[in-house]
């Protein structure tokens, strides 16, 4: 399922993928959940020489991944993570998918069980544009990067960056690194406290450890 609103041209590497790749050690064993068409796994295999696996919900996505030589299975983050043994991977990645899971907290604790390190990227529902739409128009935010109406959105569990960090604390996960990104996936080059990021970042990538 491609939940990411970030569109790239052919051969172009997504900004958030670049950030994720920079957090993955060379040669790591990686599980990428929500592999889409395999772009991130492909990037990691090429640039970080990882031993990569993927889970993807859509048949079309899986076929595209396998056809490009990636090891990807058709599966669901909500139900299929329990099949994996503890600490089976050096890094587990969940890109732009957490908000679409039925039980984000359980998914998060599964990620922390399977992976020695966990990389999660999420859209920030508390971005100022969203706040503004809710405040001034009084309607659920629909933006370029969150393009769905409330009734057809696959994103059923939105959170702000602050909410996500709170969940990490609750799960005893340490935030090793956090990178704030614009909607396009570019790094926001500001050295600012959390409450600022929670307003200006349209998405963020977190590196977690337990």
């Amino acid at each position: 399922m491609n939940l990411s609103p970030i569109k790239t041209g052919p051969g172009e590497i997504r900004g958030d993928h670049k950030v994720v790749a920079s957090l993955v050690p060379q040669g790591a064993r990686v599980l990428d959940i929500g592999s889409e068409d395999g772009a991130l796994l492909d990037l990691l295999a090429r640039e970080r020489q990882v031993d990569g696996r993927g889970i993807e919900l859509s048949q079309e996505g899986v076929n595209r991944c396998v056809a490009r030589g990636l090891s990807v299975i058709q599966g669901d983050a909500d139900t299929d993570l329990s099949d994996y043994p503890d600490r089976a991977f050096d890094v587990v990645i969940l890109s732009q998918t957490l908000q679409a899971t039925r039980e984000p907290k359980r998914v998060m604790s599964e990620l922390l069980r399977i992976g020695k390190e966990v990389i999660v990227s999420i859209p920030n529902f508390a971005h100022w544009r969203n706040r503004a739409q809710l405040l001034f128009r009084g309607s659920m935010p629909v933006t370029k990067y969150l393009p769905y109406e409330w009734y057809d959105t696959p994103n059923i569990h939105f959170c702000s960056l602050r909410d996500f960090v709170a969940l990490c604390h609750e799960l005893d996960a340490k935030v090793e690194k956090a990178v704030a990104l614009s909607g396009k996936g570019n790094k926001i080059p500001v050295n600012a406290p959390w409450w600022v990021w929670n307003i200006v970042a349209e998405q963020a990538v977190f590196l977690l450890k337990r």
Binding site: D51, R53, Q59, V62, N63, C65, V66, A67, R68, G69, L70, S71, V72, I73, Q74, G75, D80, D83, Y84, P85, A88
Partner: protein
Amino acid sequence: MSADKANSAATEDLKASEVETPSSKLVRFSADEALELDSGVRLGPWQIAYETYGELNADKTNAVVVCHALTGDQYAASTNPVTGKPGWWSLMVGPGRPIDTNHYFVICANVLGGCLGTTGPASLNQKTGAPYGLDLPVVTIRDMVRAQARLLDYLEIDTLFAVIGGSMGGMQVLQWAVSYPERVFAAVPIAAAARHTSQNIAFHEVGRQAIMADPDWRAGRYIQEGVRPTKGLAVARMAAHVTYMSDESLHQKFGRNLQDREHLTFGFDADFQIESYLRHQGMTFVDRFDANSYLYVTRAMDYFDLAQEFGGSLANAFKDTRTRFCVMSFTSDWLFPTSESRQVVKALNAAAANVSFVEIESDRGHDSFLLDVPEMFQTIGGFITGAARARGLPAPGEEVETRP
């Protein structure tokens, strides 16, 4: 003798000669080189018939074993000598095909218990001078794979780049990966399962009972007695054939259409096209297959339960495997449904194995793996290419240096 009967007798002679001296390649093993079977019996002398396509490279790293299904044979990509029809997997195996014989050395052997050249119930029992019939020990999927491994030893091929097959062929693929993990680099089980379910066994039992109920079966000694249980074998095939198709594909192909008639005849002729089709399937099948072989090979599938020798844990069967797997199922396959493939995938994940899994959209049932399903070819082609890269083999589409 009518032309039909003469024709049928000629096919029968041809089939009989294929049992001992097949048109394909053949290796004979002496009594000293017996095959140890799961039943505890040592089978020898024995022989294995096989076909090869493409060339083995100098390092012997490009060998691919193709495993055939219940009624398949070694003629995966070449003309079947009995039927004169093109190989059963010509769409998958050949120059420029997903399993590209310009790059890979493909080996396909007739299974143990089969009837086209590998030792089976129609083969001559040297102790009695008559065909084995039911004196052949019951063989298993593991025995079939053992026989193939012996063939590879004979060919001095240590490791396989890939093992691939559908249905019972997929069972052999899984058995290969479990029995000889160090010999299998990549494994592609298609429309398969790690065990035969109760429903699978039930359908096979119907087929076997049909054969054994035929008075011409003669307790398995029909060859000596100069008869053939064609009616029983045809019924077995008809029943099985229904399980290979989906309700949807039967409906699309035949619906309730009548066969060469305007009205129902209020009798038991083949009024419906589907009846006529099934009768045809049954009758053509008996020309190319041995009834006792059908008993043995279906039994081998029934006995298959990969987890059994690992305390019921399939994950333990794949423990520490380094093989790359590509598991594939079809949406409309109700004989080997996706849930069975998922069990395999689940076990492979628990074993932290390298696995891909795709469920292909197809309305053509279990037989989809034999048919023109572009998405299947594309996925397998991609998987094979990726595996070739990992193995350091030149993949199709990449430049190959050819030496004069």
